[in-house]
């Protein structure tokens, strides 16, 4: 063994200065997804948990297929929000998929639910639509597709918890007025167009008042019998 010692010492002497010099002159950015998506952090939080701004949604723990569909929709201009459209404009599909998988894999803690500012009646109406729908008006319950625990379903159905009322009503409003669309058949457009403004307010108030789920994961693919055909959740 000791026969090799001079060689080892020699190699160490030669290699060390190079290593030291390199670490001085070429400090590289961390080779992680977290470092790559720091651009998202100022609005969505470092782990996609959301920030204090009520219009910026939580991303963490939503199914990767849903997040990917949104990233593509923002990049290609189907979903309109100029700061997002701008940031994603020149990012290729493969990378967007990795970004989606990154946020889907994170499980930061949920924010405490907002103290309800709406009346008991409004919250009860919201709960009823979320759990039972409104069969008289052909409205299916949210839980039929988003799961009884509202955690979403792989690959394309998002979880509904940890979001603020302003964001939820903004999205439902977007679908009602056609400013947010998904891959056809666009089931959410059908559902949202059946809701009244009061329904939207009630659903948003109820969902945003829910505490963190005990199990923050989404349902496996195909585990929920969906009442409508959805382009973003191929059966």
């Amino acid at each position: 063994m000791h026969r090799f010692l001079p060689l080892v010492a020699f190699l160490a002497l030669v290699a060390l200065p190079i290593g030291a010099a390199q670490s001085q002159t070429t400090e590289r950015a961390p080779d992680t997804m977290a470092a790559r998506v720091l651009a998202c952090a100022s609005c969505h939080g470092a782990e996609g948990e959301g920030t204090s701004d009520v219009y910026f949604p939580r991303l963490a723990g939503k199914p990767a297929g849903y997040l990917y569909n949104q990233l593509i929709a923002f990049r290609d201009g189907r979903r309109k929000y100029p700061p997002m459209n701008y940031l994603l404009e020149f990012l290729p599909d493969d990378y967007l998929k990795k970004i989606a998988e990154h946020f889907a894999s994170l499980r930061p803690s949920f924010p405490p639910p907002a103290p309800p500012t709406d009346s008991k009646e409004v919250l009860a109406r919201g709960e009823s639509i979320v759990k039972n729908g409104d069969p008289q008006h052909g409205i299916p319950p949210c839980s039929a597709c988003h799961g009884p625990a509202l955690g979403g379903m792989e690959p394309g159905v998002p979880g509904l918890l940890g979001l603020r009322a302003a964001y939820i009503s903004g999205q439902l409003g977007g679908w009602r007025y056609g400013t947010r669309t998904a891959i056809a058949p666009d089931c959410m457009q059908i559902v949202a167009s059946l809701l009244t403004e009061d329904d939207v307010k009630a659903v948003a108030a109820y969902l945003s008042s829910r505490p963190a789920p005990s199990d923050p994961s989404f349902a496996p693919r195909g585990s929920l019998p969906m009442p409508l055909e959805c382009g973003s959740e191929p059966r």
Partner: protein
Amino acid sequence: MPRASKGMFVALMLTLWPVWAYAQQQPADPAVIAKGEYLARAGDCIACHTAREGKTFAGGLAMKTPFGTLYTSNITPDPQTGIGTWTSDQFYQMMHNGRFPDGGLVYPAMPFASYTKVTREDSDAIFAYLRTVPPVKQPNKPHELTFPFNNRSLILGWRTLFFKEGEFKPDPSKSDEWNRGAYLVEGLGHCGMCHTAINALGGSSESQAFEGGLIPMQNWYAPSLTSNKEAGLGEWTIEEITDYLRKGVSAKGAVYGPMAEVVYNSLQYLNDDDVRAMAIYLKGLAQGSSPEKAQPPMPSAESSLLLSFGKQIYDRECALCHGANGQGMPPDYPPLAGNQSIQMVSSVNAIRMVLNGGYPPGTAGNPMPYGMPPFAQKLSDDEVAAVVTYIRGAWNNRAGPVSARQANELRSATLN
């Protein structure tokens, strides 16, 4: 009488010619088609002739100009709505001379003032390639131009002032590489469309070629390629320039704004030799003007207050990636110290990067780029002005302060 019959004859020819010509088209040599595809990349045809979520080359992209909105045309080989009945002569006439097959004038949003330098052989190859893309039946949208710009004959005046027809003439005193680079930059690359100031008439003056200017409607400043104080590449190594052009990131800085589009859709697809040739030519453009160190801005009580306020924000929000001394972690976190892009007289780009953030394009050489967060929602106008002032003046950077008003005005800049 002779005039009338001549008119009839011309009209008849114009009607029948395309039909005859269409029938005469022969499938081209696959090598020519492949070359044409490559050259179409170099010319970045796709960027304008494909709408968002639209079919490739079917046009319909809205281009906002100070004179109204132009809609790009369908250049697929569909005979009714595309260019399926065109001949290679007619295609060359459009590229070279900015005229439609019927003689009509093409709006100069189509960069024929640059494409005029393209050789007949290259034009034919691009045409051969365009004939092989899937035809799409999609009628062109009429332009929405305001009076008097909706009068196409005005283009004649524009052409007299700003259009000089003629293929690229190699300079025998320069190397083949330099000439190839010049051909690509001045011709298909149409770099001068943004990097030469556009005047009130929508034209770019040849005497100011590559001297930079604000891109109308987009509110990004296209820096001068001839001044080392701006984007002149005199101080860059060839490797840094080729990295920048093809990967979108380099040790000196990353592409952003409209240049990200050019790298994403065009430059990343060019081969080693061509990117190197462009780099050699671009570096040469700036050789003449060596950067003079500007005088540091006069320290006043007000500006030193702004600087110390800016430093606080910098240390809190920026230093994590760009380093306490602005050294960055190149190429992914660009250096700010010594970065030419930050020290230009125009502070538009530096302010917009802070407000809007941005991702360099995802390219084959840099498939998973690092992004800069937007700060528009986080920093006030005063804070943006302070931090940009600090970045422009800290370390050895030498550029003037920025006002809160400038920051405020750019909040409403069009994002995409």
